[in-house]
């Protein structure tokens, strides 16, 4: 019985201690950002592959975001759930939007289904 209680307590403690630290805080604004924009996602797609692989980005709800697409892809880029699309012209395109929907979203090359970005808005 005592050993059992100790085991339960250890589990509970493990649960609490692993979840203790909260590192969120307001990051200082990057001075290099364009006016009125809180975050930029730079996407380079060469021959259907994102340079450097898929990226993970995080923003706060309400942030004004910009996706800048470069490279040589003529494939549509889809921001899931927000359902915004970038139709590239000569591999390039820009999308400005406000991060109003919280959650984690995939940004993909629509036809190939290739993941480009996992974007978290919290």
């Amino acid at each position: 019985m005592n050993r059992f209680i100790a085991l339960l307590l250890a589990l509970a403690l493990a649960a609490v201690s692993c979840s203790g630290d909260d590192t969120s805080g307001d990051a200082p604004r990057d001075p290099a950002l364009p006016d009125g924009v809180d975050g930029v996602i730079n996407l380079e797609v060469i021959d259907g592959e994102p340079t450097g692989g898929a990226q993970t980005v995080e923003f706060a709800r309400g942030d004004q975001l910009r996706i800048e697409l470069t490279g040589n892809s003529d494939e549509q880029v889809h921001v899931h759930a927000y359902d915004f699309y970038i139709e590239p012209v000569d591999g390039e395109g820009v999308l400005d939007f406000t991060a109003l929907i919280p959650g984690t979203f995939e940004i993909e090359l629509e036809d190939a289904g290739r993941l480009l970005v996992r974007m978290t808005v919290s």
């Binding site: 649960a15 203790g20 993909e108």
Partner: protein, 441 residues
């Protein structure tokens, strides 16, 4: 063509991680309630006595049969719509009812409905309708004969295979969203069910259709059921678990479902995301398959370990104990389903408003809802987090209560309490792991 979305069902959006303090709260609560169960819960079994419940409504035979007939027709109709949409509708799943209809409303929606209200699917199940009709046409089998074979419950091994096939398709296969893939899956699954039934008889469907078995097991904790005399009865939630039959394979069935939902949570973690983020196609499927098998094995191992400990304490065989205590995992399976899929149903599921007006993606507007736009803020992240936390905590309490009731039914109180240490260990592990999966770490 849109294919190869990320594996988990209708992709594109996942929940924010559960706040840490909420996780700690739920974990602490679950551990505390487990102690309470040991000391302060009832000493005599309660659930079996109240499992019959009260008669609420008795339909006369005529209207009753008519209603059954109508529900079966609706079941056949919806099944036909899904198949047709999957094979012939728009290839973009966003414009095709089959993806959201099958992966969200059928799979997730019916799990919720079954656990809360009752085994609704039984009234609609097109497979039993087709098999019955065929039997009737062939040999004029009577209704009485049909209902007699209905009650035979053989081993659930075919259902374990069937539900695993589905879960593999949903969670591991890289193109689960594509309507044509859904068409292939539904067609193969249906052929397997109907062929099996034509060889083994109608009763076979009830032990082999993984969906029907899952919905019926979940409905053991529901508030309503229809008895043998087709009377609608109400009962306390959970009470039905005490009379749930456990033919061979039941525990394995529940463990496969539980493990798969855990894998779904795990596959959304940033760890698995980093492992798989540059994979696609069959390579991705392979990784997911291995991950799925490992997580199902781990979840099962925890249970097997505990059952062996219990066997040591009580002197009963592990088979007997699995059969006796397997049903108490059902509330945890239901809780996992709610925690993982509530937001999918509430948010992405809204796309059904669009689909009902234009099921095949041909620009129809049958009900004037074709340009409905999804309200992604219908439930806030805070509400979602609370639903998840409470689901896991309440599921834990219900599971502990069901297991406790079963143990005081089997053993004298002192042994009952001791026999519960390993079971409580299992449930605390499942609960804490379930919460960690929601952390998305």
């Amino acid at each position: 063509m849109i294919a190869e979305l990320l594996a988990h069902g209708t992709g594109g959006r996942t929940d924010l991680p559960l706040p840490a303090w909420q996780l700690a709260w739920a974990a602490g609560f679950s551990v505390a309630i487990s102690f309470v169960a040991l000391g302060a819960f009832w000493e005599k079994p309660h659930l079996a006595a109240i499992s019959r419940g009260r008669s609420l409504l008795k339909l006369a035979d005529g209207p009753g049969r008519f209603l059954e007939f109508v529900l079966k027709l609706i079941g056949l109709f919806l099944f036909g719509v899904m198949l047709f949409a999957a094979w012939r509708g728009n290839t973009n799943f966003v414009a095709n009812i089959s993806g959201d209809g099958f992966l969200i409303w059928f799979w997730v929606g019916l799990q919720f409905v079954s656990a809360l209200l009752g085994d609704v699917w039984r009234a609609f199940n097109p497979y039993t309708t087709i098999v019955d009709s065929a039997a009737w046409v062939k040999s004029k089998v009577t209704r009485a004969e049909l209902s007699a074979i209905d009650h035979g419950e053989g081993p659930l091994w075919p259902a374990v295979a069937a539900i695993f096939a589905y879960l593999w398709y949903e969670l591991a296969y890289h193109s689960a969203d594509s309507p044509r893939s859904i068409g292939v899956f539904l067609t193969l699954y249906s052929i397997a069910m109907l062929a099996g039934a034509s060889v083994n008889g109608r009763g076979w469907v009830r032990t082999s259709d993984g969906f029907a078995v899952l919905f019926s097991k979940l409905s053991a904790m529901s508030m309503f059921y229809v008895d043998d005399e087709r009377r609608l009865r109400g009962r306390a939630p959970l009470a039905g678990l005490s009379t749930l039959t456990t033919p061979p394979g039941t525990v394995q069935f529940v463990l496969v479902v539980l493990g798969s939902t855990s894998f779904d949570g795990f596959s959304r973690s940033s760890f698995w995301g980093d492992v798989t983020q540059d994979l696609a196609g069959w390579t991705l499927t392979l990784y997911n398959t291995v991950g799925l098998l490992i997580i199902v094995a781990l979840v099962s191992l925890v249970f097997v370990f505990a059952i062996n400990l219990m066997a040591g304490i009580t002197g009963d065989s592990t088979e007997e104990l699995s059969a006796a205590f397997g049903p108490s995992l059902v509330p945890i399976a239901a809780a996992y389903a709610v925690a993982h899929y509530f937001s999918l149903l509430a948010l992405t599921g809204q796309r059904m408003f669009i689909h009902i007006s234009d099921p095949f993606g041909r620009g129809w507007d049958l009900f004037g809802t074709q340009d409905y736009s999804i309200s992604w803020l219908l439930v806030s992240p805070e509400v979602i987090a609370w639903v998840q936390t409470l689901a896991i905590a309440v599921g834990h309490v219900l599971a502990v209560a069901a297991a406790h009731d079963r143990s005081v039914e089997r053993y004298p109180h002192e042994l009952a309490v001791r026999s519960q240490y390993p079971m409580l260990f299992v449930m605390v592990v499942y609960t804490v792991v379930g919460l960690f999966l929601l952390l998305g770490a």
